[in-house]
């Protein structure tokens, strides 16, 4: 580990410590924004772990998130909350593994298409299963958890995601993924087991979405298929990651913070037009800043260096 690595690690740790102080300052509005930001940071960063280097766009975050949420909601009578979080991670990872094995062995757009309707598919199956078993479609998750506790849990999870992302970036696996993203044919020819690398990363990324869903479940307190598997979530995660920039580990964070604040404002002002405005924001990002905020910063930095 070089000196620069040590310095970056120390800086990151310091940033997390500062972020962890938020509940001591405010426990109302800003803490709830903080919870949203922490949640989307986990989701967007773990999304980028897989989709960033490989360019395989996953539109299925909501499916894994919802699975995690449902594991908690349905299992609360039988197991304790920490056990359920582990189960949620396992369930989301197993589901992602099956999907990955079916779709990621072949390159191309199959994966994207498959993930497009995945949340809706799981929603249909869950609704159907509930119908067959005769339970009502809504489930209550009544665990007392303060916003501050949830915030710290999500922040801790975010730290784990960043750490794992950093480790992957330094590993052979991360190197392999970058080659796959640049040219998959080359990757195969230099002897990379491309499907294994892709599936492993997809599983890791889905696992974090599952854990997030499980953690957030008590805050929602009422879980229902249409809410838990809302396609909006997948969309927001993609949009935030792209806004921030997907070729740096900390890129999504730069998208999550402004977008969450902006979205808070928009959904309060124009509650009826959220879908439309989300689409417009998305197009603006795809066309105007294809490399995200990070890309803009890096170009500006390079120009500044060049000018000197």
């Amino acid at each position: 580990m070089s000196g620069a690595d040590m310095r970056n690690l120390a800086l990151a740790a310091l940033a997390f410590l500062v972020a962890a102080l938020l509940p001591l300052v405010d426990t109302g509005y800003w803490l709830s924004i903080g919870v949203s930001i922490a949640m989307y940071t986990v989701l967007a960063t773990s999304w980028t772990l897989f989709s960033g280097p490989t360019n395989y766009i996953s539109l299925a975050t909501a499916a894994f998130f919802g699975i995690g949420m449902y594991v908690v909601a349905a299992g609360l009578d039988y197991a304790s909350f920490p056990v359920l979080i582990v189960l949620a991670a396992v369930a989301a990872a197993a589901f992602a593994g099956i999907i990955g094995l079916a779709t990621l062995r072949i390159s191309g757009v199959y994966f994207v298409i498959f993930t497009l309707g995945l949340a809706e598919l799981v929603r249909q199956i869950v609704s159907w299963a509930q119908h067959v078993m005769g339970s009502s479609s809504g489930l209550y998750v009544l665990i007392g958890m303060s916003d501050a506790a949830l915030y710290w849990l999500l922040l801790g999870l975010a730290a784990i995601v960043f750490l794992i992302g950093w480790l992957i970036g330094r590993s052979r696996l991360g190197f392999a993924l970058r080659i796959i993203g640049n040219d998959e044919v080359v990757a195969v020819h230099v002897g990379i087991d491309t499907s294994r690398a892709k599936v492993v990363l997809f599983v890791i990324s889905a696992m974090f979405a599952g854990i997030t869903g499980a953690l957030v479940a008590p805050r929602w307190s009422y879980v229902e298929p249409t809410l838990a598997f809302s396609p909006f979530l997948s969309f927001q995660v993609v949009i935030m990651s792209l806004l921030g920039g997907t070729h740096r580990l900390w890129g999504p964070l730069l998208g999550v913070v402004p977008f969450t604040l902006l979205w808070e404002f928009i959904s309060a002002r124009f509650p009826a037009q959220t879908t439309l405005l989300l689409g417009v924001a998305f197009l603006l990002i795809v066309y105007a800043i294809p490399n995200g905020v990070v890309g803009l910063c890096e170009t500006a930095y390079r120009r500044w260096r060049y000018a000197k």
Binding site: V109, Y110, L116, Q124, W128, L276, F282, P290
Partner: protein
């Protein structure tokens, strides 16, 4: 028997919708995730037309289809062509066009919700029973099926009997070779994209005759069309037709034997089977 006939009738309209997507993906190389929204918009258009004039919804084709042609052509020109120019390779274009059309689909859903609200709509046209093999079917389904067959046949003849159709098929096979024999690839792509939207819209008009729909339903139809195109093979129109009927049968079977809420599961099941067994599609060639 019931399942076979209903599946057949459903498959006809699916074929139309899938052929639209196939033109867009096969020729213009744009994976259009907003395809289902075109279908739903056409269904809404037909609903208004029928509510306002009480003429047969088939007449709505006369304005829905040209309108979809113009709108899709404009979308291609304004939004997608810059992506085609910007893309360094096919993979880049695929990612960009998926993201752009995904954003477009949300805009379309938002616009539809803003104009009609979120409720489910349907209208009653030719809702009288017809007896086939001892079972009763809605006349509107049969009319829609016949309409779909006629339109499919017209599209097929257009693609296989005219010079323009030949040019489109050439671009589908290889854009670079097509430009060598002086086919204007950019124009052919734009035409294919606009035409694809028009065909999908025709499918939406026919579908609206017997289906209840709402603004958020588009993504499901996009997915079905995508599954059909992949199952049939990207470059062959016959594949799409056969695959449409397979999906029609599978969905009807699941809906009547298991649960009507699980039709998407049927589509996914077929998708997985195709991916595991024959990823190049029924009529596709192994590369």
């Amino acid at each position: 028997m019931d399942i076979i006939v209903t599946g057949l009738l459903l498959g006809g309209t699916y074929a139309l919708m899938a052929m639209g997507l196939q033109l867009q993906y096969g020729v213009a190389r744009i994976m259009n995730l907003a395809n289902g929204e075109v279908l739903i918009a056409a269904a809404f258009g037909t609903f208004w037309f029928f509510a306002a004039t009480r003429f047969s919804p088939l007449w709505a084709l006369l304005f829905v289809v040209p309108l979809a042609f113009v709108v899709n052509g404009a979308v291609y020109r304004v939004l997608l062509l810059p992506l085609v120019r910007r893309a360094r390779n096919q993979g880049q274009l695929e990612v960009d066009s998926i993201l752009a059309t995904f954003g477009l689909s949300f805009i379309a859903v938002g616009l539809l919700q803003a104009t009609v609200g979120g409720e489910y709509l349907s209208y009653s046209y030719l809702a009288e029973p017809v007896v086939i093999f001892g079972e009763r079917y809605g006349l509107n389904r049969i009319v829609a099926f016949v309409g779909a067959v006629v339109l499919c046949a017209m599209l097929y003849l257009w693609l296989h009997r005219t010079r323009t159709g030949l040019a489109l098929r050439a671009v589908a096979v290889s854009p670079s070779s097509a430009s060598l024999v002086s086919i204007n690839v950019a124009r052919a792509s734009a035409l294919a994209f606009a035409m694809g939207g028009a065909v999908t819209a025709a499918g939406g008009t026919l579908l609206s005759m017997f289906l209840t729909f709402d603004a958020s339903l588009g993504v499901i139809f996009t997915l079905k069309a995508l599954v059909i195109v992949i199952m049939g093979g990207v470059s062959d129109i016959r594949g799409a037709i056969v695959a449409s009927f397979i999906l029609g049968f599978a969905e009807t079977a699941v809906a009547s034997l298991v649960d009507p809420g699980l039709t998407l599961a049927a589509a996914y099941m077929l998708f997985i089977i195709v991916l595991l067994v024959r990823p190049e599609g029924l009529f596709g060639r192994r590369s």
